[in-house]
Amino acid sequence: MYRGYEAVIGLEVHAQLKTNSKIFSSDPTNFEASDNQNTSPVSVGMPGALPVLNEQAVKLAVITGLALGCSIRTKSVFSRKNYFYPDLPKGYQISQYDEPICEHGHLEIQTETGPKTVRILRAHLEEDAGKSTHHGDFTLINYNRSGIPLLEIVSEPDLRTPAEAADYARTLRQVLQYVESCDGNLEEGSLRCDCNVSVRKAGESKLGTRVEIKNINSFRFIEKAIEYEIERQIDEIEAGRKIIQETRLYDPDKNRTFTMRTKEDAEDYRYFPDPDLLPLVITSSYIHEIRKALPTLPQDRCKVYIQHLGLSDYDAKVLTETRDLADYFEKTAQISQRPKEAANWIMNELLRELKNSSQKLSEIKISPSQLAELIELVEKGVISGKIAKAVFGECWSSGKNPHDIVNAQGLGLISDESALEAVIDRVLSSNEKSVNEYKAGKTKLLGFFVGAIMKETKGQASPEVVNKILSKKLNG
């Protein structure tokens, strides 16, 4: 609640679909291309050039729609959204209007007050526009982005705080990355977010006039931009002024929003079905096949980890952060049959090394089966936990099997009583004073003896056998 007002927030997220070519032409989609390298008559809007729809863009839209619980239209229609701006060379954007491919979905987010379901109004396919850079007297245009396939995912105005809006965007990105429909790269613009914000007096059911904040490229800025906008709108209303329906831009350096243009009404875009494209018809068996192949989503995996594998909420959340990590954990847990130990090793050792080496999970040398082998070596008492960490380090850098490392370096625990007895005798005779103190009642010294023995054996003595012999010698 803000000064007796409630904020109503909805997000429009533009996700770049991970295709090799553009939505209506074969131009490549790579980000690092040089100026206008990825263009063709279709993407620069030459008269007479005709669009041909990319089947992979359709597939990724259906995958994403299903992951968001949407119903998928077996018939959807491409429309022209008309407006004049030089980054849109045809004078219209090909988009979907009244018959979008996906609609009526939902996404569950975790808020401070527990889980919350955000309804998704629609998700439709459209083409991106070119990129303009403004230089005062002139504007320069690069059409490499023109025709990049986008899925615009529109939420219902179900969000109430800036933090919820940022959580929604983060969760949405996680789902997109899980189903591999979008790489979620905010810096490269693969994921862009427009926020619709309005405020109303607490208890009021009628929605206030909404303002759209455009092109925010970080989750933190989503929060800050909405935060600023809520306060600005309340100030306006309190001062007796009206909120104007408009599009505003967020300036992160000044942490404020400013007017970009007054918002067109939908009718100003004069939408109509694009005569260059027939309706997109897909079959229910196509949708069914895609549904069958969907990966388990992070929220569902989280539940399994907590309820069936006995992990904590926190651990489950960290391990499901990315699909790669969750897959790695599940394989390790399955092979070792020890989910908790697998979780500990991954969360402590593996994630630390990953961070230090700034590698990707797919690039590392230690495999889930090797990590499982290491866990087994500890559980079977072949090596101590301390030595296991060293073996992990060795395995991390060389990719050798933990078993081989232990054998080659003779790291296995010494359980041979006669061998250990000799070491223990040596330690006791060189610490005669301490032995006497122990016998006089200073039993705390037991730890000191164990430490000395471990040092002598480079940590390889079996703690169990050491304790047994030591207590016999000292107490017997």
């Binding site: 070519s21 490549p28 206008n36 729809l53 089947e55 863009a57 030089p86 002139f138 504007t139």
Partner: protein
């Protein structure tokens, strides 16, 4: 809908703005007159009862053909810019838009 729809001057002015066309008040007046005649002609369509009839997107019953997702560069940036009235390097130069 009213019985005889019309495009008044202010609507014509808005349409010219949306279409990015500069028009004199004479031209707007003429446009308002001509467009009113056009909408009135088409207005006869609204007399038809379309209750329960699906909107027509295309009159031919053929399927949309999709493309495989294969990237191919068929044109160089230089070729694509060869018709540009003004360019800077391989970028299109246009009048300022902000």
């Amino acid at each position: 809908m009213s019985d005889s729809p019309s495009i008044d001057i202010s609507t014509a002015e808005k349409m010219s703005r949306l279409a990015n066309l500069k028009m004199s008040s004479e031209q707007l007046k003429e446009m308002s007159f001509t467009l009113t005649k056009v909408v009135q002609l088409f207005h006869s369509l609204s007399q038809v009862n379309t209750e329960g009839i699906e909107p027509l997107v295309t009159p031919v019953d053929i399927r949309l053909v999709l493309r495989s997702d294969l990237a191919k560069t068929n044109f160089s940036a230089e070729e694509m810019l060869s018709n540009a009235p003004e360019k800077t390097g391989n970028l299109f130069t246009v009048p300022p838009v902000v």
